[in-house]
Symmetry: C2
Subunit: 154 residues, 2 copies
C-alpha cells in the first residue's frame, strides 16, 4: 500500500526531488554502505581508525575518505589523543547529529532481521526491561501508525 | 552516548561483522542512494520506468540495473502491462518487503529535516489526525527508549 501524497507531489510531471527531499538530503551524507557501517561502529563505541577498518571490513583508503566526509558533515567529531611514547593521533566520536542516525540503523536492522534472517544475528533489546527493540512510526499526537496512514505533502 | 554492547561484540578484536550483522545484510540490498530513492518513489506510488528515471534524477542505465536488483531481492514486483496499441511493458510495484523499508526512509527524513533543514520540504503527517510523523525506538513491552537504553548483544 503506497503512502498518500498531497500537493505538488501528486503532479504526474513533478521533477526530481533532489535537495527538496529530506530523505535525499540525508542520503547525500550517508548514502553509502560504508558510511552507514562506520556510523554503526561509532555508535558501538569504536573510535580508532584501525578498529574502524577492521570492524567494518573496508580498505584504509575508503575508511579515510569516508571518515573525513562524516567529520565534515558533522556526524563524527575528530579529537586528538596521544598514548605514552607515541605521536598524536586522532579518534572519531559520534556527535549528536551522528547519534540521530541510530534510528535509521535500527530500521535497517529491523528489515534485515525480517527479510534476510540469519541465525546468531545480534539482538537489540531495551536495557531496562530486556524486551526486543524495533522502530515504530508515531505521530506527535501519540498514535502509532502504518505506512498506509502516512501522508506526504509536498 | 554509544549504545551498550554485550557478548562477543565487546571483544576488542572482534572481526568485521559482514553477514552476521542485520544492518549490513540490509545495506547489501539497499546500500546505495539510488536504491533508496527508487524505493521512496515506489512508496509514493511510482510504477513506470520513465517516471522513476525522471523523479529520482538518475540515468536510465542506473535505474535499469538498480530496479533489476530490487526485483531480484524481492523489494519490488515486476508486472506486465499494456496500453492500447502499445507493446507490453513492465511496471514496478512495492512488495511487502519493500514496504517494510518505509520506516528506514522516514528515519532518514527525520535526520534530513533536523540536520540539513530546508524550507518547503515535504511534510510527513498522520492521515487520521494531521500530526507530524517520525520514527521512535520502542521495545516489545511498549516502552519508548533513547539510544543510551539500547543493548546490542552479539
Amino acid at each position: 500500500m503506497p503512502v498518500r501524497l498531497e500537493g505538488r507531489l501528486t503532479r504526474p510531471d513533478r521533477p526530481a526531488a533532489g535537495d527538496y527531499c529530506s530523505i535525499d538530503r540525508a542520503l547525500q551524507v550517508v548514502g553509502t554502505r560504508s558510511a552507514m557501517l562506520l556510523l554503526r561502529e561509532a555508535s558501538y563505541g569504536t573510535t580508532r581508525f584501525d578498529d574502524f577498518v577492521h570492524r567494518v571490513g573496508i580498505t584504509e583508503a575508503v575508511a579515510s575518505s569516508r571518515l573525513r566526509e562524516l567529520v565534515e558533515a558533522g556526524l563524527l567529531e575528530r579529537r586528538p589523543y596521544r598514548e605514552p611514547g607515541q605521536r598524536t593521533r586522532h579518534e572519531y566520536v559520534l556527535s549528536e547529529s551522528g547519534e540521530d542516525l541510530v534510528p535509521t540503523l535500527l530500521a535497517l536492522a529491523d528489515w534485515g532481521r525480517k527479510h534476510a534472517p540469519k541465525k546468531g544475528t545480534p539482538t537489540f533489546t531495551h536495557h531496562d526491561c530486556g524486551a526486543d527493540v524495533s522502530v515504530t512510526l508515531r505521530c506527535a499526537a501519540g498514535h502509532d501508525l502504518g505506512t498506509d496512514e502516512l501522508v506526504v505533502r509536498g
